[in-house]
Symmetry: C2
Amino acid sequence: MRRVVAGPEIERLIQLLSKLPGLGPRSARRAALHLVKKREELMQPLTAALGDALEKIVVCDTCGNIDTRNPCMVCADETRDHSLLVAVENVADLWALERAGAVNGRYHVLGGTLSALDGIGPDDLNIASLISRAHEPEVKEVVLALSATVDGQTTAHYITDLLRDADVKITRLAHGVPVGGELDYLDEGTLSAAIRQRTLF
Amino acid sequence: MRRVVAGPEIERLIQLLSKLPGLGPRSARRAALHLVKKREELMQPLTAALGDALEKIVVCDTCGNIDTRNPCMVCADETRDHSLLVAVENVADLWALERAGAVNGRYHVLGGTLSALDGIGPDDLNIASLISRAHEPEVKEVVLALSATVDGQTTAHYITDLLRDADVKITRLAHGVPVGGELDYLDEGTLSAAIRQRTLF
């Protein structure tokens, strides 16, 4: 005997919340109850913030970042080094690099990696626009900040091939020991790379 | 160097999402990106569902359940056994019992348990209204379906005292081995209770 516990509006809210990454059916119920309990402090502001974002968020035509303006904050920032172009897989990676404050250049969001298994080819990604931006005279270096996975590296090689005749330096992220990481838990590939690419103390 | 990654609207959305139980700052960012990516399928419906719920959700005057109508679906259900009143700590517990289809009576949401540590006294809970409902002539049994914690049991004892002169049977949930649970992992208290309250096979 399985009963519907609450009205259809609440059931629908729970069902939609459960589609967020990190929330399953049980935590979606908890979240819905929490929202109802914190009506003024959380539910109203969240509803407003979602509506606001829904109305204003756009994808940057230049780099593929999401923002409420186009071009986005990063592309519009004139203090950034226009000679450095960092290709990333997705917006989450762009944000991660920005949070680290690691990049003072601009970005290009590919929208994924090439994947034979998932049927993702070059035309499904923003590769043509990257090649075109890499040919702009001010660009001197393209960093392929892609995952160290097979698909990520396949994509990096593919792009490197296309950029052969462009007058840019092509670089990739260093392999090595994560900061705070213990050697004991690292795989052999990372350890060998960390030894090979060792730096002066 | 800590940069703001996106416009204030997105930052605000992330900040509010991170206040949901089960979502931290990192998963709130993931959720926000997921929402933006699934604009039509998820972000729009979720915004609408939140607005809808915000507008319609009310607390049931009778039992304290939340629903879009007052009295709530459970209280309004005439097929339920009006002689059985189940007191629960919160709406989540009510929903859990409803999902289990374990109760064919009605509920009373106390809104928590007595707690000397948190300064929660009888007046902070819906105890007076429970006592009043328990005195209705149709009510024959009050189940105190409270947590098997010190605070839960203190609350149960307190309510039992107040109901001494009411003409109702007062019961509580059985202790025992959870269905699918392994004896090896259970504490001694549960095991002794399960033995004491053993039933015929």
